[in-house]
């Protein structure tokens, strides 16, 4: 498996796009995580302090576990996961074979809007981190 090298310029473009599309729309935290569970970028930051290192590791593990679930039902992979909480919810999406994006938002933001904006952001990030 090749190592993931993140350049300053690519990261800047990705972060700007995340801020503009998701943070402005009310999503309080967005993380870019690699498949090994490392934090590539973290934007926003809600009122509560979140342990992003743990969140990133568990995200990668969660994706790995659910892709095994997918295989059991004859799918290759699930590209999107959504965990609904009482107040805050988590939205995970696989960008490419290396990256996962996690959005954390509360009940003031609609899931539909998040999905729409996430799709825009993915398009940009996919091009930036073309393997």
């Amino acid at each position: 498996m090749a190592d993931l090298i993140v350049t300053t310029s690519a990261l800047e473009v990705a972060c700007n796009k995340i801020d503009e599309s998701l943070i402005k729309a009310g999503v309080h935290t967005v993380l870019l995580v690699d498949q090994a569970g490392n934090v590539v970028a973290s934007r926003g930051g809600g009122p509560k302090e979140i342990d992003i290192i743990s969140l990133a590791a568990l995200t990668a593990a969660n994706f790995a576990a659910t892709s095994e679930l997918a295989k059991l039902i004859g799918e290759d992979d699930f590209t999107l996961l959504f965990h609904k909480g009482k107040k805050d919810s988590l939205h995970f999406v696989r960008i490419n074979s290396d990256l996962i994006m996690v959005s954390i938002f509360d009940d003031n933001v609609s899931l539909g809007l998040v999905r729409l904006r996430v799709a825009e952001v993915i398009k940009v990030i996919k091009e930036l981190f073309e393997p």
Partner: protein, 205 residues
Amino acid sequence: MALIDLSKREIHCKIVYYGPGRCGKTTNLLYIYNAMSEKTKGKMITIETKGERTLFFDLLPLTLGKVGGFDIRIQLYTVPGQALYEATRKLVLKGADGLVFVADSLRVRQVKNRESLEELRRSLREYGASLGEVPMVLQYNKRDLVSSPIPTIGVEELDRDLNNGLVFPRFEAAATKGVGVFETLKEISKRTVRHVTQKNMLVGR
């Protein structure tokens, strides 16, 4: 798969502690966690299950100084050792930059050690890697039991079983007392960071 962040000048590596069930992988991590200062360690995550066995993984993030101007961040993972959880072990192994194989010195665990190493070889192959390619260190754990009446395996025999030709550096350890724990960590961190930086030509040889 290491992450090299040129913007923050950080290298993130993943080191996985592998080995048969009850050999002391989590004990290694716990000892490191308790011994390191607050500044250099992160929060240890253990996915709680009933009993004291690891079901998914334990994770301990550490910061280990600078190499060639890059901050080194290491995440230590353990796998569940029980034979049943092969699929989970494979998931945790994904993207590992360095490996510690913890072997159990108890005579009754001799076959389990061999089986576990064989499984590691097989899983790596499925990820397109081989045992020699990923930096690895062996740890012969529970050496404190040698002097007890419980039958144990000698170091030479462990070498023959698991490390034929002494390809990998190996350390004798008693993880519950911390003996050999940091020696193992130091060696695997050094080898992993060297491997990642040389592969990506970040520092000279």
